[in-house]
Symmetry: C2
Subunit: 202 residues, 2 copies
DNA sequence: GCAGGAGCTGACCGATCGGTCAAGTACCGT
DNA sequence: ACGGTACTTGACCGATCGGTCAGCTCCTGC
């Protein structure tokens, strides 16, 4: 047993590299980010990136895999849930996912269509598509598809590109959560003023 | 004067190259698209791209310049308009711009934050930011900023990534225009039920 | 003390990047 | 027929890409 018991474990290089990759992939784009950039940003040599993660695609998978798993869990929960309050629960789950994994979400939502040949991105695209179809199947398709696309893509855009809109320091996560909950609810939940037939349950 | 008056002018290579570049930049991403891809897609040699447009950046400028000019015109019109119906006019202008230049808009809105070092993208980002600030200045800032970001980013995302949501052939532009007008109006116009920004408790 | 494995690095590889250049082709007014 | 101009191309350039590999330093179990 070592005499000193370090409260904070030593920082692992693989974690630093994964985090640097996540930030670079989200802000610069996966295709436009070189392994050299990731290594420089984390303070290591490029070879070390390929030592811990065998390839650029594996690095991407390590960076956004957890977020995609969580997104797939949200999808399964929605498909299995009762039709009465699926929508409300969906909005809450999606808002949490967006805020907790905003960088990863930006990658596999906004860059997803450009990277469909990457296996893990293909998985994410399939999940997004299944959720969109499930949401759109409940009512008139075109309107729902558009609302869903704007809500998902818009929120993903806002959370990472939103710093472009103001030079003030960004709002706290709780503030963001509240407003996002409100706005996405307006977009996805059958509001009182919209769609004359307020069919809350079928 | 030429004896034959050809009804359809001869197809110009520069136009074909510009159009191919627009499509590739929008679907694959500017940084991830090589000049070789653009040339192959249009059926010419790579050298010919650099003959008509001296550099990759100049090609981008030729492809999205008109859309950015139009966006800046929308901004000026909004800044100069009377406060009474600026918002309503803005929604109409933005919807038209989105539909008429969806590929270019996808590039300078969604890829904008990643490409701010490219001069023309920097111009576009500045215009987006000025519009966001003008819109957000009228009421409580955070809520308005978020609504604006979701509306703009979401619509740009939907129009080009939306084909990921369905394998049916895409809806007509008129259908799209109608629904977009409705949804963006809900997001940006002060609706009757909504003015209180009391975030619904979780 | 020491063998051995994990962590890390620089040198190097073929491929591709954006961009340059000289030569070839096609078409024009004269 | 001819000179010139616009157009198009393949060969080529240095830089950088993702990825491989041999070798270095450290730490640890014995």
């Amino acid at each position: 047993m070592p005499p000193e018991t370090p409260v904070s474990l030593r920082v692992r290089a693989s974690d630093e590299l994964r985090q640097a990759a996540l930030e670079q992939f989200a802000t610069v784009g996966f295709a436009a980010t070189s392994l050299q950039q990731v290594a420089d940003h984390a303070g290591y040599a490029k070879s070390n990136v390929l030592y811990h993660y065998g390839s650029k695609e594996a690095l991407l998978e390590a960076a956004i895999g957890p977020a995609i798993n969580e997104f797939e869990a949200v999808l399964e929960q929605y498909l299995a849930g009762p039709a009465s309050d699926r929508r409300t629960a969906l909005v809450g789950s999606v808002v949490d996912l967006l805020i907790d994994h905003r960088l990863a979400v930006h990658i596999f939502i906004l860059q997803g269509p450009s990277l469909s040949e990457v296996p893990i991105i293909g998985r994410a695209n399939a999940a997004v598509r299944r959720l969109a179809e499930a949401v759109g199947r409940e009512r008139e398709s075109l309107d729902e598809h558009i609302r869903f696309g704007i809500a998902l893509g818009g929120a993903a855009y806002l959370l990472t590109a939103g710093r472009l809109f103001t030079d003030d320091e960004p709002p706290s996560d709780d503030e963001l959560r509240g407003v996002l909950h409100q706005v996405l609810g307006e977009l996805l939940l059958p509001a009182a003023g919209r769609t004359s037939t307020t069919t809350t349950t079928d």
